[in-house]
């Protein structure tokens, strides 16, 4: 969800940028093993949620840029809706208590 959201915001980024973006936007709260990003990206490629193309970075290095597809956008909406539902439920339970 986070990857999809990041891509939805930035339009097109490579792995490193995605990792950085997630980290910064979460104010360094979410710090995962950075590499696990890549298997996740592979899965998304297979599912057809993102597409990839090879491009060149600002530092003139070859990098793979990922882009959200229509299917990915739908998936993001689905996941966001699901997350909000769960989040709301948790909030309500916490407030009740």
């Amino acid at each position: 969800m986070l990857i999809l959201k990041t891509l939805a915001k930035s339009g097109e980024s490579h792995g490193f940028e995605i990792a950085n973006s997630i980290q910064q936007n979460s104010v360094n709260v979410l710090q995962v093993e950075e590499g696990s990003l890549y298997p996740a990206l592979q899965r998304m490629l297979l599912k057809g949620w993102v597409t990839a193309r090879w491009g060149v970075t600002a530092g003139n290095r070859r990098a793979r840029y990922y882009q959200l597809t229509e299917g990915g956008r739908e998936q993001l909406d689905r996941e966001l809706a699901q997350y909000r539902r769960v989040n709301l439920a948790i909030e309500q339970v916490l407030q009740a208590a």
């Binding site: 490193f16 093993e33 590499g35 297979l46 057809g48 070859r62 990098a63």
Partner: protein, 893 residues
């Protein structure tokens, strides 16, 4: 749809994994380097920055693997590993692999050979347009039609999109002398159009050519590709040329493509001519107008969307009208009523027609069962070998289990090995099948009926073989694999590789061998029964001696008018008898066992019952000296002689059975027999021994011979039998010269009567030979299995035997100790096999002659053969055990 796209992407990933791997690696490298650069900017030293970046990134190898799993081909990776490992283990024990491959190839090859014949004659579709929509139209007893019937159906039916009729025949290509037969077909004009067979060169004939006596182009012929190549050497200028069939000139208008060989699967056609041209070839009767000349096979093409049932219903509305219009002359009473009630029924015709499929159906299924049993035995043998090998690899397997290999994975690996073995058996199997099928075809084929179907493996044969190989792989691999991995690692390792589940493995081995023995016994009993059948048929009193008898068929080809034929045949007989080396010669209408049937209901003089089925007499017409030539004993009365002429009272010689059936205890000589329909009356002048009429297997029929010399209406062709003491072949040139001197335009064909008689037993001979071969093979495999399992037992019990001997056990005691197990296996297998043999005997009863399927002698002999063979196989390792040096054996423990 989404999952489909995902599947597509997965497949693409499968084929581009190298590039994808590189991409992924590069991407990850970039990430780590960028992060390291970031750290450096933050002030860290080079190596520290890199280490920190790598630490933060995580385990790259594991991540790569996780990505691979995401691609979804992880199982393929490990499968490929299994296969590679299996390949290596097979290569490391070539002896085992070769033995296993050989027995597998034999089993698979034998099965595939039989299957490819069944496939060719029963399963394969004709190579014509949309064969599934072809149906055969049948009516009456044997399903064939008269030409008037065919014309009525063709002209009135609306149930089909097309119909065709054809009748098989033989044409003589020669202009005289020894005939050059070619397989011919009278085909209706629409024949090629309905089948969708185009001409390779020239044109095929059409309804325009199918007129009485030929169409506008005159008598035309279409020839097969093979005939074009063998007879005209593929000359492309042949179109428009003429050639001669039965002395008549025909114009060749077209050649069919090589893939079309006619509608009969096992005999390819040479020449097809329009049905209407038949009238050119008939001299005595007009077959095309004849209402009781049943000879045409009719096929139809179902229109799109129609089911056979619908078409049959539509066609049957016309049936009463068609039958009324074609009622054969002279039929009345029950016969007429039955004829008028006849309906049509439809049969699928996609696979074409095959005499072999009809005659050999049961034989082929029996063979299939036999070869399947052989394959089972081979499987059991390989399973046994695998078991022994599993014992040898016990340590390896145990260690792998101990260091954490999954049992399922190990089983999968062992199975991969057996599957690999099975698949490796396929090429050998196919090769053997190729030879085997050719051998089978040559066993079925006869001089008069060469078989020309293609047994080259096609897709369905290949699918059959592969499926079978995989099934056998599981069959012989699963049990050993399960057993081998069911170990407690701790115990085995403690025992230093010995022990484990040796006992249960040994039990399984014993059970497998017992199963092999049971199956072998089944096959041996079968072989014994089939051999006895063949022997019985060879010894059956046929009423004639076929040795040194030559048959000649003379065809006048419409060149000799009826009135002149008697004189011609008599003259020829005189010439034959005058040839030095010819002991005797006679003419005969229907040479026994080869030709058709001619029977009529008769009214014997003084017969108490009502004539009917009980007084059906089988007729033949022969000249004087026929009895002498064939060696049929005359029991009393006399042979035909010069007293019997066209003008004298008609005479008849009957067989013993006919005499007993019709005249009971009274003397039949001088009594008369009257034919029911024609009221022809014959006086009995002699009684002969019973003769076989159509089959050696038939129960004795009542037969009557009438005199050729009293026949006012001789047929346009005639058979002669010639006995030559020095063998028939020695007098052929003289006979041929005699025919030529009589009339050079006559056609003549020679056949060895003994060979013909033998060929009537070809099915029995084939089954006897093959079942004996497979029975022997099964026995051999069972012996090898028993030897192996006993040797293994001896090796396992070395210590025990050593102790027994050290304590004073005699050699004989040791031998009997080992043999006790062998005998137990033998008894178990023998018992199961006997029960199976008795139970399944019913299935082959109709293939046997003169022996019951439960014949005790055959069973006992088979058990004895099996017993002796297995005891020898068991004795060898037992003797080795008895020669064991106790000290050496114990030291090894």
């Amino acid at each position: 749809m989404n999952w489909l796209k995902e599947m597509g992407r997965r497949v693409i990933y499968l084929f581009q994994r190298r590039r994808l791997d590189e991409d992924l690696a590069e991407e990850m490298r970039l990430h780590v380097e960028l992060r390291a650069a970031e750290h450096r900017e933050g002030g860290a030293s080079g190596p520290d920055a890199e280490a920190a970046a790598i630490k933060r990134f995580g385990n790259a190898t594991r991540l790569t693997e996780t990505s691979h799993e995401a691609w979804g081909w992880g199982w393929l990776d490990s499968l490929a590993q299994d296969w590679r490992y299996g390949w290596r283990t097979l290569r490391s024990s070539p002896g085992f692999t070769l033995t296993a491959l050989l027995s597998l190839a034999l089993g698979i090859g034998a099965n595939t050979a039989v299957f490819s014949i069944m496939n060719a004659v029963m399963l394969k579709s004709l190579p014509v347009e949309d064969p599934q929509r072809l149906v055969r139209v049948r009516s009456g007893g044997n399903g064939v039609f008269t030409n008037p019937q065919w014309e009525e159906i063709r002209n009135h039916q609306q149930a089909f999109s097309g119909m065709l009729a054809y009748g098989n025949t033989r044409f003589d290509l020669a202009m005289g002398g020894e005939s050059q037969p070619a397989r011919g077909m009278f085909a209706s004009g629409d024949f090629f159009r309905v089948l969708g067979v185009p001409a390779l060169l020239g044109r095929v004939f059409t309804s325009e050519d199918d007129r009485r006596g030929g169409g506008e182009s005159g008598p035309v012929a279409v020839i097969s590709h093979r005939f074009w190549e063998t007879h005209f050497h593929g000359d492309t200028n042949i179109i428009g040329k003429t050639f001669h069939l039965n002395r008549l000139s025909f114009q060749i208008i077209g050649i069919t493509p090589a893939w079309f060989t006619g509608l009969e699967v096992d005999t390819a056609y040479d020449i097809a001519i329009p049905l209407g041209c038949k009238s050119l070839m008939d001299s005595d009767v007009d077959v095309l107008a004849h209402r009781s000349y049943w000879w045409l096979c009719v096929l139809a093409r179902l229109p799109a969307g129609a089911t056979p049932q619908q078409a049959a219903t539509r066609l049957n509305i016309l049936a009463p009208e068609i039958m009324r219009a074609t009622l054969p002359g002279g039929w009345d009473g029950d016969g007429k009523a039955e004829y008028l009630r006849r309906l049509f029924d439809l049969q699928p015709a996609a696979t074409g027609f095959s005499g072999i499929a009809t005659d050999y159906r049961q034989a082929l299924f029996t063979l299939m069962a036999v070869t399947a049993l052989v394959l089972l035995i081979a499987c059991a043998n390989i399973a046994n070998l695998m078991l022994a090998r599993a014992a040898a690899r016990q340590r390896e397997i145990t260690i792998r289990l101990a260091i954490g290999a999954g049992r399922r994975r190990l089983i999968r690996q062992l199975l991969a090995e057996s599957l690999l073995l099975a698949l490796l058996g396929i090429p050998g199997g196919l090769l053997l099948a190729h030879w085997g099928a050719k051998l089978l075809v040559s066993l079925i084929a006869t001089s008069g009926n060469p078989l020309e179907f293609s047994v080259s493996p096609d897709l369905s044969v290949f699918a059959f073989t592969t499926t079978m190989a995989i099934a056998t792989g599981f069959l012989f691999g699963l049990a050993p694999a399960l057993l081998a991995t069911r170990v407690a690692p701790n115990e085995v390792l403690k025992k230093g590789g010995h022990g484990g589940h040796g006992r249960s493995r040994f039990r399984l081995g014993q059970a497998l061998v017992a199963g092999q023995i049971a199956l072998s016994l089944l096959l041996l009993v079968g072989a014994g029964l089939f051999i006895a059948t063949l022997r019985n048929l060879g010894q059956v009193p046929a009423g004639f001696r076929s040795q040194n008898v030559l048959l000649l068929e003379i065809n006048t080809q419409g060149l000799v008018p009826k009135e002149a034929r008697n004189q011609l045949y008599n003259g020829m007989l005189e010439r034959f008898r005058a040839i030095p080396g010819v002991d005797s010669a006679a003419s005969v209408a229907l040479p026994p066992l080869i030709y058709g049937v001619w029977n009529e209901t008769v009214e014997p003089e003084g017969y108490p019952g009502k004539p009917g089925q009980d007084t059906l007499l089988y007729f033949n017409q022969v000249s004087s000296d026929y009895l002498k030539t064939l060696g049929t004993p005359l029991l009393y009365g006399r042979d035909f002689d010069s007293r019997d002429t066209l003008s004298s009272p008609k005479t008849m010689i009957i067989t013993e059975t006919a005499a007993r059936n019709f005249f009971r205890a009274t003397n039949p000589i001088g009594k008369t027999i009257t034919v029911e329909g024609s009221k022809k009356r014959y006086e009995i002048i002699g009684v002969i021994a019973d003769v076989k009429y159509r089959h050696l297997r038939e129960s004795t029929l009542p037969v009557g011979y009438t005199d050729m010399a009293q026949e006012p209406d001789p047929w346009p062709s005639m058979n002669f039998a010639v006995r030559a003491g020095r063998g028939g072949a020695s007098v052929i040139p003289a006979l041929r010269a005699a025919v030529e001197q009589t009339n050079p335009a006559l056609s003549v064909e020679f056949r060895d009567f003994e060979l013909q008689v033998r060929e009537t037993m070809r099915q029995e001979r084939m089954i006897a030979m093959l079942s004996a071969f497979f029975g022997g093979l099964a026995l051999l495999l069972a012996i090898i299995g028993l030897y192996g399992v006993t040797s293994y037992a001896v090796a396992q019990r070395q210590g025990e035997i050593g102790i027994r001997m050290a304590l004073g056990a005699r050699r004989a005691a040791v031998v009997s100790l080992v043999l006790r197990d062998v005998i137990r296996i033998l008894l178990m297998g023998g018992l199961v096999g006997s029960i199976a043999a008795i139970a399944s005997g019913r299935l082959i009863a109709s293939l046997l002659y003169g022996i019951r399927p439960t014949d005790p002698a055959t069973l006992i002999i088979s058990i004895m053969v099996l017993g002796v063979a297995t005891l020898v196989a068991g004795y060898l390792p037992a003797r080795r055990a008895a020669r064991l040096n106790p000290m050496a054996a114990l030291r090894e423990q």
